[in-house]
Protein backbone atom coordinates (compact mmCIF):
# COMPACT_ATOMS: atom_id res chain seq x y z
CA UNK A 1 0.00 0.00 0.00
CA UNK A 2 1.44 3.41 -0.96
CA UNK A 3 2.03 6.08 1.65
CA UNK A 4 -1.30 7.52 2.69
CA UNK A 5 -2.03 11.04 1.43
CA UNK A 6 -3.99 11.82 4.58
CA UNK A 7 -3.46 10.30 8.03
CA UNK A 8 -5.43 11.00 11.15
CA UNK A 9 -3.89 9.92 14.46
CA UNK A 10 -5.88 9.97 17.69
CA UNK A 11 -7.91 12.90 16.39
CA UNK A 12 -10.16 14.47 19.01
CA UNK A 13 -12.55 17.36 18.50
CA UNK A 14 -14.42 19.47 20.97
CA UNK A 15 -17.17 22.07 20.87
CA UNK A 16 -16.61 23.81 24.19
CA UNK A 17 -17.08 21.14 26.86
CA UNK A 18 -18.67 18.74 24.43
CA UNK A 19 -16.34 16.19 22.87
CA UNK A 20 -17.46 15.23 19.38
CA UNK A 21 -14.61 12.97 18.21
CA UNK A 22 -12.61 10.47 20.25
CA UNK A 23 -9.22 9.27 19.00
CA UNK A 24 -10.02 8.82 15.32
CA UNK A 25 -7.35 6.98 13.29
CA UNK A 26 -7.63 6.97 9.50
CA UNK A 27 -5.38 6.48 6.51
CA UNK A 28 -6.52 7.60 3.08
CA UNK A 29 -4.49 6.66 0.01
CA UNK A 30 -4.06 8.81 -3.05
CA UNK A 31 -6.88 8.49 -5.55
CA UNK A 32 -9.14 6.66 -3.13
CA UNK A 33 -12.82 7.46 -2.72
CA UNK A 34 -13.75 6.86 0.89
CA UNK A 35 -17.26 7.02 2.29
CA UNK A 36 -17.91 8.20 5.84
CA UNK A 37 -21.26 7.02 7.12
CA UNK A 38 -22.98 7.17 10.47
CA UNK A 39 -26.10 8.38 12.21
CA UNK A 40 -26.87 12.05 12.87
CA UNK A 41 -24.50 13.41 15.48
CA UNK A 42 -21.94 10.65 14.97
CA UNK A 43 -19.29 13.25 14.18
CA UNK A 44 -19.08 13.03 10.38
CA UNK A 45 -19.30 16.76 9.73
CA UNK A 46 -16.99 17.45 12.67
CA UNK A 47 -14.45 15.09 11.12
CA UNK A 48 -14.47 16.98 7.80
CA UNK A 49 -14.33 20.37 9.54
CA UNK A 50 -11.33 19.20 11.55
CA UNK A 51 -9.48 18.06 8.43
CA UNK A 52 -10.32 21.33 6.62
CA UNK A 53 -8.95 23.40 9.52
CA UNK A 54 -12.22 24.95 10.68
CA UNK A 55 -11.66 23.20 14.01
CA UNK A 56 -8.25 23.46 15.63
CA UNK A 57 -6.29 20.29 16.41
CA UNK A 58 -2.82 19.31 17.53
CA UNK A 59 -0.44 19.61 14.56
CA UNK A 60 0.48 15.92 14.53
CA UNK A 61 -3.12 14.68 14.63
CA UNK A 62 -3.58 15.42 10.91
CA UNK A 63 -0.80 14.58 8.44
CA UNK A 64 -1.28 15.48 4.79
CA UNK A 65 1.21 14.74 2.00
CA UNK A 66 3.88 14.18 4.63
CA UNK A 67 3.32 17.44 6.55
CA UNK A 68 1.56 18.05 9.84
CA UNK A 69 -1.44 20.27 9.14
CA UNK A 70 -3.59 19.77 12.22
CA UNK A 71 -2.80 23.18 13.67
CA UNK A 72 -3.13 25.18 10.44
CA UNK A 73 -5.95 27.66 9.77
CA UNK A 74 -8.56 26.74 7.18
CA UNK A 75 -7.11 29.14 4.60
CA UNK A 76 -3.66 27.58 4.99
CA UNK A 77 -5.15 24.11 4.62
CA UNK A 78 -6.94 25.29 1.46
CA UNK A 79 -3.62 26.40 -0.02
CA UNK A 80 -2.25 22.90 0.68
CA UNK A 81 -4.90 21.48 -1.66
CA UNK A 82 -7.80 20.33 0.50
CA UNK A 83 -11.26 21.57 -0.47
CA UNK A 84 -14.54 21.10 1.39
CA UNK A 85 -18.00 21.10 -0.13
CA UNK A 86 -19.85 22.11 3.02
CA UNK A 87 -23.14 20.73 4.27
CA UNK A 88 -26.05 22.86 3.10
CA UNK A 89 -24.08 24.34 0.15
CA UNK A 90 -23.18 27.57 1.99
CA UNK A 91 -22.82 29.71 -1.13
CA UNK A 92 -21.99 33.38 -0.76
CA UNK A 93 -25.32 35.23 -1.18
CA UNK A 94 -23.65 38.53 -2.15
CA UNK A 95 -21.80 36.89 -5.02
CA UNK A 96 -23.14 35.88 -8.43
CA UNK A 97 -22.90 32.28 -9.55
CA UNK A 98 -19.74 32.98 -11.52
CA UNK A 99 -18.19 34.94 -8.65
CA UNK A 100 -18.88 32.03 -6.31
CA UNK A 101 -16.96 29.81 -8.70
CA UNK A 102 -14.14 32.32 -9.19
CA UNK A 103 -13.57 32.73 -5.48
CA UNK A 104 -12.94 28.99 -5.33
CA UNK A 105 -9.84 29.65 -7.42
CA UNK A 106 -8.56 32.17 -4.87
CA UNK A 107 -5.73 29.86 -3.84
CA UNK A 108 -4.30 30.09 -7.36
CA UNK A 109 -3.42 26.40 -7.48
CA UNK A 110 -2.73 25.05 -10.97
CA UNK A 111 -4.57 21.99 -12.23
CA UNK A 112 -7.15 20.67 -14.63
CA UNK A 113 -10.15 22.62 -13.30
CA UNK A 114 -11.13 25.98 -14.73
CA UNK A 115 -14.30 27.99 -15.19
CA UNK A 116 -14.79 26.45 -18.63
CA UNK A 117 -14.35 22.93 -17.32
CA UNK A 118 -16.89 23.49 -14.52
CA UNK A 119 -19.33 24.92 -17.08
CA UNK A 120 -18.79 21.83 -19.23
CA UNK A 121 -19.57 19.60 -16.24
CA UNK A 122 -22.63 21.63 -15.21
CA UNK A 123 -23.84 23.49 -18.36
CA UNK A 124 -26.84 24.98 -16.54
CA UNK A 125 -24.48 27.11 -14.42
CA UNK A 126 -23.19 28.91 -17.51
CA UNK A 127 -26.73 30.00 -18.37
CA UNK A 128 -27.18 31.25 -14.81
CA UNK A 129 -23.71 32.72 -14.29
CA UNK A 130 -24.79 36.31 -13.64
CA UNK A 131 -27.66 35.45 -11.30
CA UNK A 132 -27.42 35.75 -7.53
CA UNK A 133 -26.57 32.31 -6.19
CA UNK A 134 -29.64 32.42 -3.94
CA UNK A 135 -31.98 32.41 -6.96
CA UNK A 136 -30.87 28.94 -8.01
CA UNK A 137 -32.66 25.70 -7.12
CA UNK A 138 -31.14 23.51 -4.43
CA UNK A 139 -29.61 21.15 -6.95
CA UNK A 140 -28.07 23.98 -8.96
CA UNK A 141 -26.71 25.49 -5.75
CA UNK A 142 -25.09 22.15 -4.97
CA UNK A 143 -23.49 22.21 -8.43
CA UNK A 144 -22.07 25.65 -7.65
CA UNK A 145 -20.77 24.40 -4.29
CA UNK A 146 -19.07 21.45 -5.96
CA UNK A 147 -17.74 23.63 -8.80
CA UNK A 148 -16.43 26.16 -6.29
CA UNK A 149 -14.45 23.44 -4.51
CA UNK A 150 -13.13 22.06 -7.81
CA UNK A 151 -11.92 25.53 -8.90
CA UNK A 152 -9.31 25.27 -6.15
CA UNK A 153 -7.82 22.28 -8.00
CA UNK A 154 -7.64 20.28 -4.78
CA UNK A 155 -5.77 17.00 -4.36
CA UNK A 156 -8.25 15.98 -1.69
CA UNK A 157 -11.92 16.93 -1.85
CA UNK A 158 -14.33 16.50 1.06
CA UNK A 159 -18.05 16.22 0.32
CA UNK A 160 -20.39 16.82 3.24
CA UNK A 161 -23.95 15.57 2.70
CA UNK A 162 -24.15 16.55 -0.96
CA UNK A 163 -27.57 14.95 -1.39
CA UNK A 164 -29.16 16.50 1.70
CA UNK A 165 -32.52 18.10 0.93
CA UNK A 166 -32.38 17.43 -2.81
CA UNK A 167 -34.88 15.63 -5.00
CA UNK A 168 -33.91 12.05 -5.98
CA UNK A 169 -33.55 12.94 -9.66
CA UNK A 170 -31.12 15.76 -8.76
CA UNK A 171 -29.18 13.48 -6.42
CA UNK A 172 -28.83 10.99 -9.24
CA UNK A 173 -27.48 13.59 -11.65
CA UNK A 174 -24.96 14.81 -9.09
CA UNK A 175 -23.77 11.29 -8.33
CA UNK A 176 -23.60 10.59 -12.07
CA UNK A 177 -21.17 13.51 -12.30
CA UNK A 178 -18.94 12.23 -9.50
CA UNK A 179 -16.84 9.77 -11.55
CA UNK A 180 -15.78 12.55 -13.92
CA UNK A 181 -14.83 14.66 -10.90
CA UNK A 182 -12.73 12.12 -9.03
CA UNK A 183 -11.61 10.33 -12.18
CA UNK A 184 -8.53 12.54 -12.51
CA UNK A 185 -6.89 10.83 -9.54
CA UNK A 186 -8.38 13.21 -7.02
CA UNK A 187 -8.76 11.74 -3.55
CA UNK A 188 -12.24 12.12 -2.09
CA UNK A 189 -14.01 11.64 1.22
CA UNK A 190 -17.78 11.52 1.02
CA UNK A 191 -20.04 12.00 4.02
CA UNK A 192 -23.47 10.71 3.15
CA UNK A 193 -26.69 9.70 4.89
CA UNK A 194 -27.78 7.54 1.98
CA UNK A 195 -25.68 4.45 2.64
CA UNK A 196 -26.30 2.71 -0.68
CA UNK A 197 -25.36 5.88 -2.60
CA UNK A 198 -22.21 6.20 -0.52
CA UNK A 199 -21.25 2.56 -1.05
CA UNK A 200 -21.89 2.75 -4.80
CA UNK A 201 -19.23 5.41 -5.42
CA UNK A 202 -16.63 4.48 -2.80
CA UNK A 203 -14.03 1.76 -2.50
CA UNK A 204 -13.73 1.91 1.25
CA UNK A 205 -16.00 2.93 4.07
CA UNK A 206 -15.63 4.19 7.61
CA UNK A 207 -18.63 4.11 9.88
CA UNK A 208 -18.70 6.52 12.81
CA UNK A 209 -20.73 6.05 15.95
CA UNK A 210 -20.75 8.60 18.74
CA UNK A 211 -17.41 10.07 17.69
CA UNK A 212 -15.55 6.80 17.24
CA UNK A 213 -14.83 4.57 14.23
CA UNK A 214 -17.15 1.61 14.68
CA UNK A 215 -16.47 -0.16 11.40
CA UNK A 216 -14.07 0.12 8.49
CA UNK A 217 -13.26 -1.96 5.45
CA UNK A 218 -13.48 -2.32 1.68
CA UNK A 219 -16.97 -1.55 0.42
CA UNK A 220 -17.41 -4.90 -1.29
CA UNK A 221 -16.52 -6.95 1.81
CA UNK A 222 -18.92 -5.30 4.23
CA UNK A 223 -22.40 -6.67 4.68
CA UNK A 224 -25.59 -4.79 5.39
CA UNK A 225 -25.76 -6.39 8.82
CA UNK A 226 -22.26 -5.19 9.71
CA UNK A 227 -23.31 -1.65 8.80
CA UNK A 228 -26.53 -1.78 10.73
CA UNK A 229 -24.61 -2.89 13.83
CA UNK A 230 -21.93 -0.26 13.36
CA UNK A 231 -24.50 2.42 12.59
CA UNK A 232 -26.77 1.97 15.55
CA UNK A 233 -24.55 0.04 17.93
CA UNK A 234 -27.18 -2.67 18.34
CA UNK A 235 -27.53 -6.23 17.13
CA UNK A 236 -29.67 -6.29 14.01
Amino acid sequence: MPDPVLSLRSLDAHYGDFQALFGIDMDISEGEVVAIIGANGAGKTTLLRSIAGLLKNEAAQVTYQGGSIGALRADQVAHKGIALVPEGRQLFPSLSVEENLLIGAQTGRAGPWSLDKVYTLFPILKERKDQASTTLSGGQQQMVAIGRALMANPDLILFDEISLGLAPVIIKSIYDALPSIVGDGMTAMIVEQDISKAMSVSSRVYCLQEGRVSLTGATNTISRDDITRAYFGVEA
Binding site: A52, D75, A78, F92, L95, L102, I103, A152
Partner: protein
Protein backbone atom coordinates in the same frame (compact mmCIF):
# COMPACT_ATOMS: atom_id res chain seq x y z
CA UNK B 1 -32.07 82.44 -5.99
CA UNK B 2 -30.69 82.46 -2.45
CA UNK B 3 -32.55 79.26 -1.72
CA UNK B 4 -31.26 77.55 -4.83
CA UNK B 5 -27.80 78.67 -3.86
CA UNK B 6 -28.24 77.20 -0.36
CA UNK B 7 -29.37 73.87 -1.81
CA UNK B 8 -26.46 73.72 -4.26
CA UNK B 9 -23.95 74.67 -1.56
CA UNK B 10 -25.46 72.03 0.71
CA UNK B 11 -25.18 69.42 -2.02
CA UNK B 12 -21.51 70.20 -2.47
CA UNK B 13 -20.98 70.10 1.32
CA UNK B 14 -22.66 66.67 1.25
CA UNK B 15 -19.73 65.41 -0.80
CA UNK B 16 -17.43 66.03 2.16
CA UNK B 17 -19.86 64.28 4.51
CA UNK B 18 -20.02 61.32 2.14
CA UNK B 19 -16.22 61.13 2.34
CA UNK B 20 -16.46 61.11 6.15
CA UNK B 21 -19.02 58.34 5.87
CA UNK B 22 -17.55 56.14 3.14
CA UNK B 23 -14.89 54.59 5.40
CA UNK B 24 -17.43 53.93 8.16
CA UNK B 25 -19.82 52.34 5.70
CA UNK B 26 -17.08 50.16 4.19
CA UNK B 27 -15.84 48.87 7.54
CA UNK B 28 -19.30 48.17 8.84
CA UNK B 29 -20.23 46.45 5.58
CA UNK B 30 -17.24 44.12 5.56
CA UNK B 31 -16.77 43.27 9.24
CA UNK B 32 -19.77 44.66 11.16
CA UNK B 33 -17.39 46.91 13.10
CA UNK B 34 -18.64 50.30 14.30
CA UNK B 35 -15.54 52.43 14.50
CA UNK B 36 -16.05 55.14 17.13
CA UNK B 37 -12.53 56.45 16.44
CA UNK B 38 -13.35 57.18 12.78
CA UNK B 39 -13.77 60.93 13.31
CA UNK B 40 -10.50 61.16 15.21
CA UNK B 41 -8.76 59.23 12.45
CA UNK B 42 -10.04 61.88 10.01
CA UNK B 43 -8.53 64.57 12.27
CA UNK B 44 -5.30 62.55 12.53
CA UNK B 45 -5.12 62.55 8.73
CA UNK B 46 -5.68 66.33 8.71
CA UNK B 47 -2.78 66.85 11.14
CA UNK B 48 -0.62 64.49 9.12
CA UNK B 49 -1.43 66.58 6.06
CA UNK B 50 -0.58 69.75 7.99
CA UNK B 51 2.80 68.42 9.13
CA UNK B 52 3.63 67.13 5.66
CA UNK B 53 2.78 70.41 3.94
CA UNK B 54 4.70 72.47 6.51
CA UNK B 55 7.78 70.26 6.64
CA UNK B 56 8.10 69.55 2.94
CA UNK B 57 6.61 72.81 1.71
CA UNK B 58 4.21 71.00 -0.61
CA UNK B 59 0.57 71.60 -1.56
CA UNK B 60 -1.99 69.70 0.56
CA UNK B 61 -3.15 67.76 -2.50
CA UNK B 62 0.41 66.60 -3.13
CA UNK B 63 0.64 65.66 0.57
CA UNK B 64 -2.11 63.10 -0.15
CA UNK B 65 0.52 61.01 -1.93
CA UNK B 66 2.18 60.57 1.46
CA UNK B 67 -0.78 60.69 3.85
CA UNK B 68 -2.91 58.16 1.97
CA UNK B 69 -0.40 55.29 2.06
CA UNK B 70 0.60 56.12 5.65
CA UNK B 71 -3.03 56.08 6.80
CA UNK B 72 -3.62 52.84 4.86
CA UNK B 73 -0.61 51.30 6.61
CA UNK B 74 -1.88 52.47 9.99
CA UNK B 75 -5.26 50.93 9.15
CA UNK B 76 -3.76 47.56 8.26
CA UNK B 77 -1.60 47.40 11.41
CA UNK B 78 -4.42 48.68 13.62
CA UNK B 79 -6.80 46.05 12.29
CA UNK B 80 -4.40 43.11 12.53
CA UNK B 81 -2.78 44.23 15.77
CA UNK B 82 -5.83 45.29 17.77
CA UNK B 83 -9.25 45.37 16.14
CA UNK B 84 -9.30 41.79 14.80
CA UNK B 85 -8.98 40.60 18.38
CA UNK B 86 -12.16 42.43 19.34
CA UNK B 87 -14.36 40.93 16.61
CA UNK B 88 -16.68 38.11 17.52
CA UNK B 89 -20.26 37.39 18.37
CA UNK B 90 -20.32 40.17 20.96
CA UNK B 91 -20.65 43.67 19.47
CA UNK B 92 -19.51 45.45 22.64
CA UNK B 93 -15.70 44.86 22.59
CA UNK B 94 -15.08 46.68 19.26
CA UNK B 95 -17.21 49.61 20.45
CA UNK B 96 -15.27 49.90 23.72
CA UNK B 97 -11.87 49.48 22.10
CA UNK B 98 -12.51 52.03 19.34
CA UNK B 99 -13.93 54.42 21.94
CA UNK B 100 -10.69 54.03 23.89
CA UNK B 101 -8.73 54.55 20.70
CA UNK B 102 -10.67 57.77 20.12
CA UNK B 103 -9.67 59.08 23.57
CA UNK B 104 -6.02 58.11 23.00
CA UNK B 105 -5.92 59.77 19.57
CA UNK B 106 -7.44 63.03 20.84
CA UNK B 107 -4.99 63.25 23.72
CA UNK B 108 -1.99 62.32 21.59
CA UNK B 109 -2.93 65.02 19.08
CA UNK B 110 -3.41 67.50 21.93
CA UNK B 111 0.10 66.71 23.21
CA UNK B 112 1.65 66.93 19.78
CA UNK B 113 -0.19 69.92 18.29
CA UNK B 114 -1.83 71.76 21.25
CA UNK B 115 -5.47 72.81 21.30
CA UNK B 116 -4.96 75.79 18.98
CA UNK B 117 -7.05 75.62 15.83
CA UNK B 118 -4.92 75.02 12.75
CA UNK B 119 -5.60 75.11 9.05
CA UNK B 120 -3.94 73.90 5.91
CA UNK B 121 -3.05 76.41 3.23
CA UNK B 122 -4.11 75.33 -0.23
CA UNK B 123 -3.46 78.72 -1.90
CA UNK B 124 -5.75 80.42 -4.41
CA UNK B 125 -7.97 77.39 -4.83
CA UNK B 126 -9.51 78.09 -1.41
CA UNK B 127 -11.13 81.34 -2.53
CA UNK B 128 -11.49 80.77 -6.27
CA UNK B 129 -15.00 80.55 -7.62
CA UNK B 130 -16.76 80.02 -10.91
CA UNK B 131 -20.11 81.43 -12.06
CA UNK B 132 -22.55 78.66 -12.90
CA UNK B 133 -25.97 79.66 -14.25
CA UNK B 134 -26.30 82.74 -12.10
CA UNK B 135 -24.79 81.10 -9.00
CA UNK B 136 -21.25 81.58 -7.81
CA UNK B 137 -19.76 78.26 -6.74
CA UNK B 138 -16.47 77.80 -4.92
CA UNK B 139 -13.89 75.76 -6.78
CA UNK B 140 -12.92 73.89 -3.62
CA UNK B 141 -16.48 72.69 -2.79
CA UNK B 142 -16.93 71.67 -6.45
CA UNK B 143 -13.65 69.80 -6.36
CA UNK B 144 -14.58 68.15 -3.05
CA UNK B 145 -17.86 66.94 -4.48
CA UNK B 146 -16.14 65.66 -7.60
CA UNK B 147 -13.59 63.79 -5.47
CA UNK B 148 -16.40 62.31 -3.37
CA UNK B 149 -18.17 60.99 -6.47
CA UNK B 150 -14.88 59.61 -7.79
CA UNK B 151 -14.07 57.94 -4.45
CA UNK B 152 -17.52 56.32 -4.19
CA UNK B 153 -17.28 55.16 -7.81
CA UNK B 154 -13.81 53.80 -7.12
CA UNK B 155 -14.95 51.92 -4.01
CA UNK B 156 -17.93 50.59 -5.94
CA UNK B 157 -15.54 49.36 -8.64
CA UNK B 158 -13.27 47.69 -6.09
CA UNK B 159 -16.23 46.03 -4.37
CA UNK B 160 -17.95 44.65 -7.45
CA UNK B 161 -15.26 44.30 -10.10
CA UNK B 162 -12.07 43.10 -8.39
CA UNK B 163 -10.98 39.95 -6.60
CA UNK B 164 -10.29 42.05 -3.49
CA UNK B 165 -13.92 43.20 -3.48
CA UNK B 166 -15.08 39.65 -4.02
CA UNK B 167 -13.02 38.65 -0.97
CA UNK B 168 -14.60 41.51 1.03
CA UNK B 169 -18.12 40.41 0.14
CA UNK B 170 -17.46 36.70 0.65
CA UNK B 171 -15.84 37.25 4.05
CA UNK B 172 -18.72 39.51 5.05
CA UNK B 173 -21.24 36.84 3.99
CA UNK B 174 -19.64 33.92 5.81
CA UNK B 175 -16.10 34.18 7.13
CA UNK B 176 -15.74 30.44 7.87
CA UNK B 177 -16.56 29.42 4.33
CA UNK B 178 -14.38 32.26 3.00
CA UNK B 179 -11.49 30.75 4.98
CA UNK B 180 -12.14 27.46 3.17
CA UNK B 181 -11.56 29.33 -0.10
CA UNK B 182 -8.07 30.21 1.11
CA UNK B 183 -8.93 33.72 2.28
CA UNK B 184 -7.20 34.70 5.50
CA UNK B 185 -9.92 36.62 7.33
CA UNK B 186 -7.50 38.71 9.38
CA UNK B 187 -5.71 39.82 6.19
CA UNK B 188 -8.98 40.58 4.37
CA UNK B 189 -10.17 42.71 7.31
CA UNK B 190 -6.77 44.40 7.42
CA UNK B 191 -7.11 45.31 3.74
CA UNK B 192 -10.63 46.66 4.33
CA UNK B 193 -9.41 48.91 7.14
CA UNK B 194 -6.45 50.03 5.01
CA UNK B 195 -8.82 51.01 2.21
CA UNK B 196 -11.16 52.76 4.65
CA UNK B 197 -8.34 54.82 6.17
CA UNK B 198 -6.97 55.70 2.71
CA UNK B 199 -10.40 57.28 2.07
CA UNK B 200 -10.18 58.87 5.52
CA UNK B 201 -6.90 60.50 4.45
CA UNK B 202 -8.71 62.22 1.56
CA UNK B 203 -11.52 63.31 3.88
CA UNK B 204 -9.06 64.63 6.47
CA UNK B 205 -7.07 66.70 3.98
CA UNK B 206 -10.20 68.21 2.44
CA UNK B 207 -11.53 68.97 5.94
CA UNK B 208 -8.27 70.66 6.88
CA UNK B 209 -8.33 72.87 3.78
CA UNK B 210 -11.98 73.80 4.16
CA UNK B 211 -12.05 74.74 7.85
CA UNK B 212 -9.77 75.14 10.82
CA UNK B 213 -9.53 72.09 13.05
CA UNK B 214 -8.28 71.12 16.49
CA UNK B 215 -7.90 67.75 18.23
CA UNK B 216 -11.47 67.80 19.57
CA UNK B 217 -13.43 68.08 16.30
CA UNK B 218 -13.39 64.37 15.46
CA UNK B 219 -16.59 63.59 17.34
CA UNK B 220 -18.74 65.87 15.19
CA UNK B 221 -17.21 64.39 11.98
CA UNK B 222 -18.12 60.93 13.31
CA UNK B 223 -21.72 62.03 13.87
CA UNK B 224 -21.99 63.52 10.37
CA UNK B 225 -20.53 60.32 8.94
CA UNK B 226 -22.94 58.12 10.91
CA UNK B 227 -25.90 60.26 9.91
CA UNK B 228 -24.97 60.10 6.22
CA UNK B 229 -24.59 56.31 6.40
CA UNK B 230 -27.92 55.81 8.20
CA UNK B 231 -29.86 58.23 5.98
CA UNK B 232 -28.49 56.54 2.86
CA UNK B 233 -29.05 53.00 4.09
CA UNK B 234 -26.45 50.57 5.43
CA UNK B 235 -24.21 48.85 2.95
CA UNK B 236 -25.03 51.06 -0.04
CA UNK B 237 -22.16 53.36 -1.05
CA UNK B 238 -24.17 55.49 -3.49
CA UNK B 239 -26.82 55.72 -0.77
CA UNK B 240 -24.11 57.05 1.52
CA UNK B 241 -23.39 59.82 -1.00
CA UNK B 242 -27.12 60.61 -1.13
CA UNK B 243 -27.20 60.59 2.67
CA UNK B 244 -24.32 63.05 2.80
CA UNK B 245 -26.08 65.33 0.31
CA UNK B 246 -29.36 65.25 2.27
CA UNK B 247 -27.49 66.08 5.47
CA UNK B 248 -25.55 68.89 3.79
CA UNK B 249 -28.65 70.42 2.19
CA UNK B 250 -30.56 70.25 5.50
CA UNK B 251 -27.71 72.07 7.20
CA UNK B 252 -27.41 74.88 4.65
CA UNK B 253 -31.17 75.37 4.53
CA UNK B 254 -31.23 75.46 8.33
CA UNK B 255 -28.44 78.02 8.31
CA UNK B 256 -30.36 80.07 5.74
CA UNK B 257 -33.34 80.30 8.07
CA UNK B 258 -31.22 81.10 11.09
CA UNK B 259 -27.42 80.67 11.36
CA UNK B 260 -27.86 78.96 14.73
CA UNK B 261 -29.99 76.23 13.16
CA UNK B 262 -27.36 74.76 10.86
CA UNK B 263 -26.41 71.69 12.90
CA UNK B 264 -29.86 71.29 14.42
CA UNK B 265 -31.49 71.13 10.98
CA UNK B 266 -29.08 68.36 9.93
CA UNK B 267 -29.86 66.31 13.03
CA UNK B 268 -33.59 66.83 12.55
CA UNK B 269 -33.39 65.63 8.95
CA UNK B 270 -31.55 62.55 10.22
CA UNK B 271 -34.15 61.88 12.92
CA UNK B 272 -37.01 62.32 10.46
CA UNK B 273 -35.49 59.75 8.10
CA UNK B 274 -34.83 57.41 11.01
CA UNK B 275 -38.45 57.74 12.16
CA UNK B 276 -40.00 57.24 8.72
CA UNK B 277 -37.55 54.78 7.17
CA UNK B 278 -35.34 53.19 9.87
CA UNK B 279 -33.57 51.08 7.24
CA UNK B 280 -32.45 54.24 5.42
CA UNK B 281 -33.57 55.57 2.06
CA UNK B 282 -31.59 53.16 -0.12
CA UNK B 283 -30.70 50.05 1.91
CA UNK B 284 -28.78 47.31 0.13
CA UNK B 285 -31.20 44.90 -1.48
CA UNK B 286 -31.59 42.09 1.00
CA UNK B 287 -30.93 38.57 -0.21
Amino acid sequence: MDWISAIVQGTLLGGLYALFAAGLSLIFGVMRLVNIAHGDLIVLAAYMGLSTTVMLGIHPFVALLIVMPVMAGIGYVLQRGILNRTLGDDILPPLLVTFGLSVILQNALLEAYSADPQKMNAGVIETASVPVGGLTLGVLPLLTFGIAVAVIAGLQFIFYRTSLGRAFRATSDNSDIAQLMGLNKTHVFGMAMALALAVTAIAGILLGIRTSFDPSVGGARLIFGFEAVIIGGLGNLWGTLAGGVILGVAQTIGAKIDPGWQLLAGHIAFLVVLAIRPQGLFPRVSH
